[in-house]
């Protein structure tokens, strides 16, 4: 029997909130009081090709815990799991195109060949008008990024589209990072 073919992607459309948001849960909050690590907020806007905020995008993130461990059978450590951290977040954009996640800063990630990836968050972007979602990574501007193997694949002039800027707002550490779907400063998207 021939292998089945992948099911084609389609847009989330404008009404995904009916199925993908839960009134009872804050899916953009990844932490509890018991979670290990530095509390941070990741915040930014999703913008279209002419710089207009996209008010009906959906941003999802997946990240390691503060020790650099993913909650998944393929990650066998040695960094410890954190029972109070799962690592997945989902946030629809608001009328200003803004998304935000309350999480912890992930640790660095070991690669199969022993090289380390700088701390980063995996990101998928869905929106009305996107027949296929976009996939990328967000890095942290105050880290050493020169030896990261994924950033090394990116043209140096475009690397900064993947790097969030650290700021503080009333004692809270906020990493600001905009996602530009198109245009001169288009965010780098990966075919992973």
């Amino acid at each position: 029997m021939p292998s089945p073919r992948q099911t084609p992607s389609q847009t989330v459309g404008p009404f995904f909130g009916v199925g993908l948001t839960r009134p009872s849960q804050s899916q953009h909050v990844l932490v509890s009081d018991r979670t290990d690590g530095e509390r941070i907020r990741i915040e930014g806007q999703v913008l279209d090709g002419v710089g207009r905020p996209i008010e009906d995008a959906l941003v999802e993130i997946w990240q390691a815990n503060a020790h650099g461990r993913y909650r998944h059978p393929l990650d066998t450590g040695p960094a410890p799991l954190d029972p109070a951290f799962f690592g997945f977040g989902r946030c629809p954009t608001d009328a200003q195109g803004t998304f935000r996640f309350d999480t912890v800063k992930p640790g660095s990630i070991r690669a199969a060949n022993g090289a380390a990836h700088a701390p980063h968050v995996s990101v998928t972007v869905f929106a009305r008008g996107m027949l296929v979602h976009a996939f990328t990574r967000m890095y942290f501007g105050d880290d050493a990024l020169d030896t990261d193997p994924a950033l090394a694949l990116v043209d140096s002039a475009r690397r900064r589209t993947l790097v969030a800027e650290r700021t503080t707002k009333g004692g809270l550490v906020v990493y600001h990072w905009d996602i530009r779907l198109q245009g001169e400063r288009e965010t780098v998207f990966f075919d992973a």
Partner: protein, 235 residues
């Protein structure tokens, strides 16, 4: 020691970012080439949701949990298997769905279509696949609805599906359509998919899924990018 990988996105099957007949793609399509990235642990892992992510009643869209009434419309079952692209079933995959009601209206603030809301229907549901990769929802046949993409534009009846596979890069959001819908050839959302792949998004009527006196049955299998383990060569 094994090495892990995930099948590549099959760009002969998925639609492109820019598909001008679907007007919203024009300003929302990345135009620069995607950067090829060999998946690492960050891409090969992904959220594995536990059974507490769903309740049994979440798979029945014809009633609002705790409510007494029933949604108006033709009751249907939608069932199928979630598979990796080598044919293996994916157990415990989270399947989330959303759709318009039988009149073609979404339970959503942004939907201004002048068709009635149904007090007994929100149109959102979720379930987890069983150990054979099977899911099943009971719902009502969604109505077609107008949109502003072009003159006299109508979306064919469809159900939105969101899926998580074993890896974060296996993520898929798609739409299921109904066989024989006369609007299918006119729809620029389905039309963005290469022609030969469009049938993959059309459910099949299955009389064995239909239950006497209860609901009609449709079958829709979903294939995600598969995760593979290959033994690493040692020398």
């Amino acid at each position: 020691m094994n090495t892990s990988s995930v099948s590549k996105r099959d760009w002969n099957i998925h639609p492109p970012y820019l598909y001008e007949p679907y007007a919203s793609t024009v300003r929302r399509s990345p135009r620069k080439a995607l950067v090829p990235l060999e998946p690492s642990l960050s891409e090969l892992t992904g959220p594995a949701f536990g059974p507490d992510a769903v309740r049994p009643e979440d798979a029945d869209l014809t009633r609002i949990p705790g409510g007494a009434g029933q949604a108006i419309g033709q009751r249907i079952y939608v069932t199928g298997r979630v598979l990796e692209d080598d044919g293996r079933p994916i157990a415990s995959a989270l399947v989330e769905v959303w759709q318009a009601n039988a009149a073609g209206r979404y339970f959503h603030d942004v939907d201004r279509h002048d068709a009635p809301l149904d007090p007994n229907f929100t149109g959102g549901g979720r379930c987890m696949t069983n150990e054979r990769g099977e899911y099943r929802f009971m719902t009502v046949h969604p109505g077609a609805y107008p949109w502003t993409n072009h003159h006299n534009a109508w979306r064919p009846s469809h159900i939105h599906f969101s899926l998580f596979g074993n890896a974060f890069i296996s993520r898929l959001v798609t739409q299921m359509y109904f066989p024989g819908d006369p609007l299918l050839p006119l729809d620029p959302v389905l039309g963005g998919v290469p022609e030969e792949a469009r049938p993959l998004l059309i459910a099949r009527y299955d009389h064995d899924v239909t239950e006497p006196g209860t609901a009609l049955g449709y079958r829709f299998d979903i294939v995600l990018r598969g995760s593979h383990e290959t033994p690493m060569e040692t020398r």
